[in-house]
């Protein structure tokens, strides 16, 4: 007999004895129970217990199966819901866009006030596989692009990006250059001021893109990096002898590609492939609310065939930037400086022109903004910015007696504009929601004082 059985028998005997004792007091003495009867009862109870155990085991198994089934259904439902297409056409397709409309009023001459649908941009992206995506942006500037209009239709980005591993990706095609605070984040909802700032338009071109290959990544320690080889600049784009000033207003200054790099970048339109450039960009953002970074770009210019025998000219641009967003405040600063080597021969060959090639150009700005009021998705943020730009900070090869800006008056009876200025901007952004912003600002120009203007803007991005 096993120990269990012994224990049960003892328990049964004890229980029976107690029952007998209790019964003896309450009623007539019952019939005597033999040990054999007790053993039979114990065996019966044991059988019943075994049956109950088996039933319990069966119930437990059924319960587990049901629970597993329920969990599986729940998980499947959730996975299916999470994987549901976010767009109506294909889950791999992304569509986005942004645009901005300006009203700009040069206060010295209100006849020059303009309304402009400055940019209408649409983006198309497609996820080619889990690690590879294609992104593109197409832009219409100034609403109408035709042979007789000033507007342009441009491909602003067109590249593939492959995530090679957890911390590095490779991009190839036409992509935005990782310079300054604005170039890669140029949607009107991302910057203060109706128009983009002058430093990141005239010193760092905007919207600056090159064709090439880059490797990029960001690490958990907060260091982002981007390095690559791209097309460079072509001196053929430089108009050294305009008969009339290339700009008469601040809006012209931004739109007419007059700055050294704005005039010579190629935008992958039959771009020179003989002279390649290289870039490196680093950004450190480990501390939330703080970003510091810098970038350098260098490469030889493509040179015009005529005049022949020009020495190689290397263009180098470097910049450093910082942004600090403590709570409702937003402070930022950018310094950018470019040099072009060996410009003396080019300028000597073109002595007396109205627009010699500079050997140095630079600019910097400081900006502060503050979210004064916020309710729901509404946000109101005034800002101010001080900036200095100089598109001709130094020249080489200017023959004695000649100036870098023509003296006297231009054909329109006004002095030629200076390629440098100090600009105060004060204004505000009112966000209806993060996608839609109304802007107003006033800009005061210290050197070309007739550029001072009042602007209104509507910007959206989605």
């Amino acid at each position: 007999m096993s120990d269990d059985k012994k224990t049960l028998r003892h328990l049964a005997l004890t229980a029976s004895a107690l029952l007998l004792a209790a019964g003896a007091q309450a009623a007539d003495p019952p019939a005597p129970v033999t040990e054999q009867q007790l053993e039979e009862q114990v065996t019966l109870m044991q059988q019943q217990l075994e049956a109950m155990k088996a039933q319990l085991q069966q119930l437990k198994q059924q319960n587990e199966a049901l629970a597993a089934q329920q969990q599986q259904i729940a998980a499947q439902t959730q996975v299916a819901a999470a994987a549901a297409p976010s767009g109506g056409i294909s889950p791999n397709l992304n569509l986005w866009g942004y645009g901005e409309i300006y009203y700009t009023d040069p206060l010295h001459d209100q006849r020059l006030a303009e309304f402009d649908l400055a940019r209408a941009v649409f983006g198309i992206g497609y996820r080619l596989d889990d690690r590879t995506s294609f992104n593109s942006e197409f832009e219409v500037e100034h609403a109408v692009a035709s042979a007789v209009d000033k507007g342009e239709f441009e491909v602003e980005q067109f590249y593939i990006d492959h995530q090679a591993n957890d911390w590095a990706g490779i991009k190839a095609g036409l992509f935005l250059m990782p310079f300054g605070l604005l170039n890669e984040h140029h949607e009107p909802t991302a910057f203060y001021g109706v128009q983009r700032n002058f430093v990141e338009t005239l010193i760092i071109p905007s919207t600056w893109r090159e064709g090439g290959v880059g490797i990029h990544g960001s690490s958990p320690i907060g260091l982002g990096w981007d390095v690559g080889v791209t097309t460079g600049l072509d001196l053929a784009g430089w108009n050294n002898s305009p008969e009339n000033p290339q700009y008469r207003t601040a809006l012209d200054l931004e739109d007419n590609d007059v700055a050294p790099m704005q005039a010579t970048h190629q935008e992958l339109a039959l771009a020179d492939a003989q002279h390649l450039s290289q870039y490196l960009s680093l950004n450190y953002s480990s501390v939330p609310g703080v970003l510091v970074g810098g970038a350098v770009f260098t490469g030889n210019l493509a040179l015009p065939v005529v005049p022949a025998h020009l020495p190689d000219e290397r263009l180098t641009l470097w910049e450093t930037h910082a942004r600090w967003t403590p709570g409702a405040a937003d402070f930022s600063a950018v310094y950018a400086r470019g040099t072009i080597s060996d410009t003396a021969k080019y300028n000597l060959d073109n002595t007396g022109v109205a627009n010699p090639l500079p050997s140095k150009f630079l600019g910097y700005y400081f900006q502060g903004a503050y979210t004064l009021w916020q309710q729901g998705s509404y946000r109101f943020a005034p800002f101010t910015r001080w900036e200095h730009y100089d598109m001709g900070a130094a020249y080489a090869g200017i023959a004695p007696g000649f100036t870098t800006v023509p003296p006297g008056l231009a054909a329109d009876g006004k002095p030629w504009p200076q390629p440098r200025d100090r600009v105060w901007t004060a204004g505000a952004s009112f966000f209806l929601n993060p996608h839609l912003v109304f802007k107003a600002d006033y800009q005061d120009f210290a050197v070309n004082s007739d550029f001072s203007r009042f602007d209104l803007g509507l910007g959206l991005s989605y």
């Binding site: 329920q70 969990q71 729940a74 998980a75 959730q78 996975v79 819901a81 999470a82 976010s86 986005w96 992206g125 996820r127 995506s133 591993n165 957890d166 911390w167 590095a168 990706g169 991009k171 605070l181 890669e184 984040h185 991302a190 490797i215 960001s218 690490s219 958990p220 320690i221 907060g222 982002g224 990096w225 390095v227 080889v229 003989q274 002279h275 390649l276 450039s277 290289q278 870039y279 950004n283 953002s285 480990s286 939330p288 609310g289 703080v290 970003l291 350098v296 260098t298 030889n300 190689d312 942004r323 967003t325 403590p326 709570g327 409702a328 930022s332 979210t371 916020q374 729901g376 993060p434």
Partner: protein, 175 residues
């Protein structure tokens, strides 16, 4: 033929690729479960929310709640949520571990697909959420600082976490 322009940055690229960088940034659901709750058995929790529940979450978090993207699991010492939000154009999948007291224990980014704004994966941004609960603002510009250049990603992940904390408070707190 290419010119003999001095290509000095490419070797830097090679050096950069060889830098030892933590490679715990992209995680599968199983890896996130393991990272956040170790070997514990996690029980999936079906989320069946009424329209009234959704309205409460939206009111409490100040964001829209799109039912279906959120998955939840119960552990002995808290809960795990895996959710997805739109970054700029594409989905960011992230995991949120909450203690039994409803406080954020850890945030991990599982998938980030966009070319820009990947800094949201950095420790510096994610650890700001640790210890926060539904009682906190969990708002960019208040108790959470964003990362310049990743503004939309930071904003939307913060909105998502605030929404999940509201969901936790409504459906799981004290239960």
């Amino acid at each position: 033929m290419l010119t003999t322009s001095r290509i000095v940055l490419l070797p830097l690229a090679a050096a950069a690729v060889c830098l030892p960088v933590q490679a715990t940034t992209y995680l599968s659901v199983e890896q996130a479960q393991q990272l956040l709750f170790g070997d514990q058995a996690l029980t999936p929790v079906p989320l069946t929310l009424s329209a009234e529940n959704v309205a409460t979450i939206e009111r409490e978090s100040g964001t829209h709640y799109y039912a279906g993207a959120t998955r939840a699991w119960k552990a002995d010492n808290g809960m795990l949520f895996i959710d997805a939000v739109i970054g700029k154009h594409d989905l960011i999948t992230y995991a949120l571990a909450v203690t039994n007291e409803g406080k954020v224990r850890q945030v991990e980014i599982l998938e980030y697909r966009e070319a820009y704004g990947g800094e949201v994966r950095g420790n510096g941004f994610r650890k700001q959420f640790v210890g926060r609960s539904h009682a906190d603002p969990v708002q960019i510009g208040q108790d959470i600082q964003n990362i310049s250049g990743a503004t939309l990603s930071c904003q939307h992940v913060t909105d998502g976490i605030r929404r999940l904390l509201a969901l936790y408070e409504l459906a799981f707190a004290g239960k």
